[in-house]
């Protein structure tokens, strides 16, 4: 029997695996129907927080549906994640996960594309743990050339 912390760890790792494999349908199954996905970062130029993506489930589905028609970075993305903290509050858990997003180009050269943290809110639904909110807090602010898939 897995502890809740082990289950949360596995849940977060599965989000990375599904995105790495571009298995978007299974990725979205790890979220609640009311999910919210945000990418945020702090701008030292503006001295304020910025929101770079703010999507609900419907918007995420549209995003994935349209991906094949876009001109994207060729190659692969790989997420290296380490869950740092898990805290329970009433019926929810909040976790902080450090991640590196690594890009490998068509010639096989890899580089760190982005660094940051996943701040997740996790709930239990029908005996399954699901993410109800994910905030991707980026330290990296130059995502050249830009990325079409969630981080």
């Amino acid at each position: 029997m897995q502890s809740s912390n082990e289950r949360i760890n596995e849940l977060i790792c599965r989000t990375c695996l599904h995105l790495d494999q571009e298995n978007f349908d299974d990725y979205l199954k790890l979220f609640t129907e009311e999910m919210n996905y945000r990418v945020v970062t702090f701008s030292p130029e503006l001295k304020k927080d910025m929101v770079w993506l703010d999507h609900d489930l419907s918007e995420m589905k549209h995003l994935f549906k349209m991906l094949p028609q876009h001109v994207k970075m060729p190659g692969k993305f790989f997420r290296q994640a380490a869950v740092y903290t898990i805290e329970k509050s009433k019926q929810k858990w909040n976790s902080t996960t450090s991640f590196l997003l690594i890009y490998t180009d068509l010639d096989g050269q890899s580089r760190v594309f982005a660094a940051g943290r996943y701040n997740d809110e996790i709930v239990e639904h029908d005996q399954k743990l699901l993410i109800s909110k994910r905030e991707v807090h980026l330290d990296t602010r130059d995502l050249a050339p830009g990325i079409h898939v969630p981080i």
């Binding site: 130029e45 304020k48 929101v51 993506l53 549209h62 876009h70 001109v71 994207k72 830009g146």
Partner: protein
Amino acid sequence: MSRTAQEWEERPAVPEGHFVDSRIYTDPLIFNEETQKIFNKTWKFACHVSEIPEIGDYRTFDHAGYPLIAIRSDDGEVRCFVNSCSHRSSVILDAPAGTAKNLTCPFHLWSYDTRGNCVHITRPEGYEEAGICKANRGLRQVRAETMLGLVFVNLDDSAGSLADYIGDGLETFSEILGTHELEVFHYHRVVMSANWKQWHETNMELYHEWGHVVNRTTSVAVKGYHDRMWKLYTNGHGTLEPLAVQYKNYPGWEDRAQKMLPGLTEGEFRVVDLFPNTTLIARSTALRIDTSTPIAPGKTLVEYRGLGIKGESPEDRAMRQKHHNQFWGPLGRNVSEDVLFVEKVERANRHRAAKHGIIARREGGRGQDDEVVRSFYREWKRQMRRDPEDITQLVDAPSISATGSN
């Protein structure tokens, strides 16, 4: 039919001014010459006034190889200085933005006020014999002027005014920029493997919109898209007549029918390209300003700003932010594709596999006509006194012309 090496290198059989020599993107000598003849002499967009609203607020940035500071001085004026101490030249401010009563060099603690006056020299008595004193050690001031909230700088003390340089170039944005107080809510930057002119070309020529699925569905397919006329101004600026973009044509997106920026109607798209390297684009509810900083022939920094109305409600800001990000955010559906496009071009230009860039579309000055690009290169030729079709050819300065040969 494919072409032989000789045929590939031949001058394209197009009218004069309808192609460029690919060396304009790759030759280090051309790059250095552009720095001297263009960037050291023309007005360059630096920031928006909302980035330095209070006395002592500053932004640092690089322009033409110079580290610069734009600062709100104690008299409320926006001034610009070279970010270099008058003593041993150290950069004074490292942070991209901040607030300072005085600008103090960390090296030997010389200090300057917000008007560039030197106000402190550590142990000044040691300089008395050599004649160094606060009065003759002020910062190097750079010209700074503001128009519609946009701060421009010019390294050339003898250059004409910003108003003369822009002319009517911002007329289609005056209501957008000048009705309400705006503020920058989005900033990101990309260092791309491409020449700065390639980026500006992509902002000018709309033929490449075929490459973006969002543009194909929301714009190119819309009635009237190909009927809009370009308007060219002196000094290489250009703008296009508006279009009512159909955002809901892209799956999952909504109309932009509410909370439009001043002067804009539902879905309205406007663009103005300012020579040499700044572009403003309005998409009904969202406004983007981008400007580039050439780093090397094949390396360019592009800064992107998104603006909203200062003091608007959190709900309105969230909507504007969403609309901005849909096209232009780093996770958006449009701008990253432009970067990929220009990097692909640079890859072929880098070692001159490609010899020429074709800018020969003629559609009567409408939509996807390349005339705005040709106008850009007429201005480039005038300032560089060099033929963009053959960079080995020096030319007499052509007269200023907005409309050219279209």
